[in-house]
């Protein structure tokens, strides 16, 4: 009797597992397909993409889209700027956040509660868009690189994550021993705490770095000089504002057949370039993140520990 029950469970489990695998497989394909499609489309004949001939793998592969992109100078200006903002911005973030997080992790810090509250408040209360803009304007930072480097110098969420890490993983006895040996607070931080904190430095560098790489809004409102634009702002122009075709067609304007043919050809080429631009801009992130993903999980786990 019992054995029969067991077998029934075994069968039910196998059916259930089958459903689980099926659902996960569908989800997996939904995640992956758009990415593969973009990559393949960027290497394909634009006519094959527009006509629905290209489903998964490139059709009549060519590199012509990339040839256009390589000659589009502004993209490379944006690329260089983004690399600069990401590297310089992340270094500033780390230099400001880590020492502060360490100090706040020290239970013997006088006034720790008040100081922590000072930071926490800014997570829930802010001046808002316009007061923030006017503030940077008063400081003379609008249309300078500083506008993208300094205002976000410390993210309170990351600060708390780092503080939790220092408080929970650096043995207090180790620090005490260092002070007994005459080590100052700053020295203890640099020579004892930091070498033990590689995971949290990695987590913060990645969080901040990805943020800088992908940000567009602040650059859009604070930067007017095109030579200072990061890549994402150029991408925005190319990807989301090139709706001239749609609008022209919507307007019901009368075009001759030749004009239409030229416009369609232009539109096809434009789309091909869009796919290539997406690949060029997202490739670094796509290449790097699988190798650092364990740090992401770690960051989320540290962040979810209250303390």
């Amino acid at each position: 009797m019992k054995r029969k029950h067991r077998m029934k469970i075994g069968l039910r489990d196998r059916v259930f597992l089958g459903i689980v695998y099926f659902v996960l497989a569908v989800y997996f394909l939904l995640m992956l397909y758009p990415l593969l499609y973009v990559a393949s489309a960027s290497f394909s004949d634009p006519k094959a993409v527009a006509g629905g001939e290209m489903v998964l793998w490139p059709v009549r592969p060519s590199l012509s889209a990339y040839r256009y992109v390589f000659h589009y100078k502004e993209i490379w200006v944006g690329y260089a700027n983004t690399v600069f903002y990401t590297v310089a911005g992340t270094l500033i973030n780390l230099a400001v956040t880590l020492p502060c997080a360490y100090a706040l992790s020290r239970r013997d810090l006088y006034g720790r509660g008040v100081l922590l509250a000072l930071f926490m408040v800014t997570m829930y209360v802010s001046g808002g868009l316009i007061p923030g803009y006017l503030n940077l304007n008063d400081l003379g930072m609008v249309n300078t690189r500083w506008a993208l480097l300094l205002p976000g110098a410390v993210s309170v969420y990351n600060l708390i994550v780092a503080r939790t890490f220092f408080a929970n993983t650096i043995p207090w006895e180790l620090q005490e021993a260092a002070w007994l040996d005459g080590c100052s607070d700053a020295k203890a931080f640099v020579h004892i705490v930091l070498p033990l904190s590689a995971p949290i430095v990695a987590v913060l560098a990645i969080y901040y770095g990805v943020g800088h790489w992908n940000a567009y809004f602040n650059a859009m409102i604070y930067i007017r000089d095109r030579a200072l634009y990061p890549l994402q702002v150029f991408l925005r122009e190319i990807l989301t504002q090139g709706q001239f075709m749609a609008q022209a067609l919507q307007g019901g304007a009368a075009y001759t057949t030749e004009e239409m043919a030229v416009m369609i050809k232009q539109a096809d080429t434009a789309n091909m370039i869009k796919y290539a631009v997406i690949v060029v801009s997202a490739a670094p992130m796509m290449a790097v993140y699988p190798f650092i993903q364990k740090y992401f999980t770690k960051g989320v786990m540290i962040g979810s520990v209250k303390g």
Binding site: I9, M31, L115, Y124, P131, Q232, L235, Q250
Partner: protein, 307 residues
């Protein structure tokens, strides 16, 4: 007498650990200048601000800006759109990561599990600009892959970016695509804390896989689920401008304009600084109120609280 003594020890403590305060200085300066100083700019919500007269010189107008906001044509529209987008995101997007973590947890091989997770994180690393660019390309009525598929199945192409009723689905589903894998991390982390002996005991008692998920794994996730739910409910009126601005066009504006994009438009496009600040202030006060209510409800019901 006593207070003098504590004051003395406080001073002595601060002197002894002055280096810790120096380590905090850059971060404290950053939030004072970039978070607290703009808060003071909120007063222009109650003024008729002009650049020439500055914060103090501009005349007070009391609640005039708020009166104008509540009486404006756009006010009911942006309120409705904000609520539509956030409620739909919550209803559709919130359960997906939970389900995903529970199901992927059933994957037997660690290698398969890791591959699955890596791919599910990928969309998170794509910038908002690129995501929206992909959405616009994919939904194009004549050559977008989604409409090509619809046509292949015998349907009529849909102008997703132009049709009012479609905007919310474009916004929410693209959000689920980008965020669900990443959102599952926190549940994966919680599931790694499930007591293996409980699962073994359940197996001995003849529990099926589904029963183990429902009665062992799911209960472990409940505290995390509650906290995430409170956080999400707290941002019910906090639909950000970054993504909406990129997906917005003149044809879908009636269903895409939300409070934050309205603040942006009135402030930085129309230069109506005081009015825009008032709208932003209204939004953040509502956000804070909703967060407090959500947190109180959760504390009453489940003892889980954000603070």
């Amino acid at each position: 007498m006593k207070s003098v003594k504590t004051k003395k020890t406080a001073l002595r403590q601060i002197r002894a650990h002055w280096q810790l305060y120096v380590m905090m200085l850059p971060a404290i300066l950053a939030i004072l200048v970039f978070s607290y100083k703009p808060m003071y700019g909120i007063i222009i919500a109650f003024k008729k601000y002009s650049f020439r007269q500055g914060y103090w010189g501009s005349p007070w107008v009391g609640l005039e800006n708020f009166r104008r906001l509540f009486g404006s044509y756009w006010f009911p529209i942006i309120l409705r759109n904000t609520l539509t987008l956030s409620v739909l995101s919550l209803v559709v997007g919130f359960p997906v990561p939970i389900l995903l973590a529970l199901l992927a947890n059933e994957l037997g091989s660690e290698k398969v599990k890791r591959t699955f997770q890596t791919v599910s994180y990928a969309p998170h690393f794509i910038s908002t600009v690129v995501l929206c660019g992909m959405v616009i390309l994919f939904t194009n009525p004549s050559h977008g892959i989604i409409n090509l598929l619809i046509r292949a199945m015998g349907g009529e192409p849909v102008a997703f970016m132009q049709e009012q009723s479609m905007f919310k689905w474009v916004y929410v589903l693209s959000g689920v695509w980008q965020g669900s894998g990443w959102g599952a991390i926190i549940y994966f982390a919680a599931l790694s804390g499930v007591d293996q002996s409980l699962l073994d005991a359940a197996s001995v008692d003849g529990a099926s896989r589904l029963q183990k998920i429902l009665y062992v794994n799911l209960p472990v996730l409940v505290p995390t689920i509650v906290v995430m739910l409170v956080l999400q409910c707290g941002s019910l009126l906090g639909v950000g401008y970054e993504k909406v601005l990129l997906l917005q066009n003149s044809l879908n504006q009636e269903s895409s304009e939300v409070i934050s994009t309205y603040v942006y438009r009135m402030g930085l496009v129309n230069y109506d600084y005081s009015f825009s600040t008032a709208a932003g202030l209204f939004n953040s006060v509502c956000n804070a109120a909703v967060l407090v209510v959500a947190n109180t409800v959760s504390r009453r019901l489940t003892n889980a609280s954000l603070w």
